[in-house]
Amino acid sequence: MKNIKFLVIGVLFGIILSKSEVVSWYRIYEMFKFQSFHMFGIIGSAVVVSMAFMQLFKSGSIKNFKGENIITKEKKKGLIRTLVGGTIFGLGWALAGACPGPMFVLIGHGITAILIVLLGATLGAFIYGLLSKKLPH
């Protein structure tokens, strides 16, 4: 059960997303309406602090538990993939008020209807997989 630590990290992440109200549909609506700094502050500060960690990974100041350098995977390149895929994601994010992490959090909150959203998301991933060779990237 060497993977149990990931469960613990998940619990921490679920609590952070709940306590900061990131999982609230209303917070996402408010963000896209530019009516609150809350979500921008969370994402912005997460990015800035992560940037500092990334520098420490790069310089080798922080190594992984095996003592190896931490290398961040390169994201797949492609103008269409990122812009079109991203826009479709954004449409869904604003309507569901939840991106994938918060969907799982809301299951824990006992919101039954989020299971349909998650089913839709899994279906979306499935259809993408089927079409991936035919879609422009």
Partner: protein, 185 residues
């Protein structure tokens, strides 16, 4: 205890999310949630339909456990760590939403207008739920990541594809919030 029951400010939550990223990287993994959707497909037998899903899902056990943890974290928060106070939304947001037909915005985490369990049984309610999810899942895999993988990991490691994806996230989100939600509701 006050800190535990009160909502956490952005400057607490943001850096803590970065610590989640740090922990996952320390243990040899990357920060990302949406790839689990593909793992679900693989477990469900999608490999029979498309080679895309022919993978050994057992290599993703760590990530599935991460997700189980997220659900548990949601459960623990909602049962033991919440104040029950309304969400401190901008009053402008609340009145705008009231005009759209969303009553009592912020009194709960999600609007009953979308997430009431009986909505699953109405055609419109079901279509909204499954359609929203579909766009999230399809879009995330097409783009190669979601908020955790692109916005947090990708932006902080200065990757151009992630910047483009995040521009897309916001383009889609703005379009939905400003122009499509007022039509749907």
């Amino acid at each position: 205890m006050e800190f535990i029951s009160q909502p956490w400010a952005w400057y607490v939550a943001g850096p803590m999310i970065a610590i989640v990223l740090l922990l996952l990287n320390y243990f040899g993994r990357g920060f990302g949630v949406s790839s689990n959707l593909e793992t679900f497909c693989t477990i469900g037998g999608a490999g029979k339909v498309s080679d895309y899903f022919k993978k050994d899902w057992k290599t993703q056990t760590w990530s599935l456990l991460f997700v189980v943890g997220i659900i548990a974290g949601g459960y623990i928060s909602s049962h033991y760590l919440m104040s029950g106070d309304p969400i401190a939304l901008n009053p402008e947001t609340v009145s705008e939403l009231a005009e759209l037909g969303f009553a009592n915005a912020g009194q709960s985490y999600v609007p009953s207008e979308i997430f009431a369990t009986e909505n699953i049984l109405s055609l419109k309610g079901f279509a909204i739920l499954i359609g929203a999810g579909f766009m999230v899942g399809f879009g995330a895999r097409y783009a190669g990541g979601c908020t955790s993988g692109h916005a947090i990991t990708g932006l902080s490691s200065l990757q151009l594809p992630s910047l483009l994806a995040v521009i897309g996230f916001f383009a889609g989100g703005l379009l939905m919030t400003w122009y499509i939600i007022p039509i749907i509701f």
